[in-house]
Subunit: 169 residues, 2 copies
DNA sequence: CAGTTCGTTCAGTATTGACTGAACTATCGG
DNA sequence: CCGATAGTTCAGTCAATACTGAACGAACTG
């Protein structure tokens, strides 16, 4: 009975692998999977026990996810442990995090662009195009995440943001 | 004069760091940066020389980028070296690659979902929600990448895809 | 004001994977 | 054919970082 993972274990492990492939810590993905599958708050000690990981990892990665807005800290009456559960709109928040990352990258590229001379064989304008791309992507995802998506009601026909050129360099 | 990077060097290095933060190989980002900044084909030997990297790395990472559709292989008359240059719509292709990745993840989660019993305290439906989220995101990016974005003409008011529920599990 | 029970932090370990140098294969030019 | 020139592959090295165990600090409990 130890072999052939249960549906829950399998899902949790997949989440770990997916997260790892995306360049994140595997344990963060596993915690995310655990909270999704169980649908209720877990204490750090419970996570550590269930996922066979150290307290330290549970603490660090839970905080990481909380900072990314994907899970949220809770408490229980008469219990001084920290509990964590899925946040309000976890996937929406995930989008917002990605958007924020893109915006940061856009700013980096805009900054790099300023160091070019105005004519550089078109180099500057190509760099500018890249920065614009990142900025537009960030805006686009941010707007999309404002719509209620992937929730129970799943609104259809989300309106698109207008993707005109920006002027903030 | 060796200190204080030129605009080009700085940009190339930033691209490397950005790529690294995104979980990719730093050199791939640097090559991307080089091709953007120079706007003309480079041979593997030229890349290796300019970026101070090994032939092996140039070869491997150029192929990686080409497989992702972000750059494209070219040739020159009377020259048997492999040249690489920016592809048709590099950023569009970048989006398509991200979309493909999301679709792959969605499929993994759909697959994991099937292993759950129909009633599992809502576990199955929560997993399904996650799969839907990934699938919708993939569709959304794919649709968006079909619009001409971040090109010279920069079309405004891109129409949004309708994000209704899917039924392909 | 002890004694517990938490969570966090930090030094050390281990693992992953990027990168390189060198060997190998293939193709072109003479 | 033979030498040279390319690109790829692969074993080995190195660096980054995920993860752990243990020490620490803070906050509740009695």
């Amino acid at each position: 009975m130890p072999h052939s993972l249960s549906a829950a274990e399998n899902f949790i492990e997949q989440m770990g692998l997916i997260t790892q492939d995306d360049g994140g810590p595997r344990i963060a993905g596993r915690i995310m999977g655990l909270l999704i599958v169980e649908g209720q708050p877990f204490s750090l000690a419970e996570m550590a026990e269930r996922l066979k990981i150290s307290k330290a990892s549970a603490s660090t990665n839970a905080r990481l996810l909380a900072n990314a807005g994907m899970i949220r800290q809770t408490g229980r009456a008469g219990d001084r442990q920290d509990y964590y559960e899925l946040g309000e709109d976890p996937y929406q928040r995930m989008m917002e995090t990605v958007s924020a990352r893109l915006r940061k990258v856009a700013d980096l590229v805009f900054e790099a662009e300023t160091r070019f001379a105005d004519d550089d064989g078109g180099a500057r304008s190509r760099v500018h195009q890249l920065a614009e791309f990142y900025a537009q992507s960030a805006d686009f995802l941010a707007d999309w995440s404002k719509q209620s998506v992937s929730k129970g009601d799943a609104s259809r026909n989300a309106a698109p943001p207008s993707t005109g050129d920006r002027d903030d360099n």
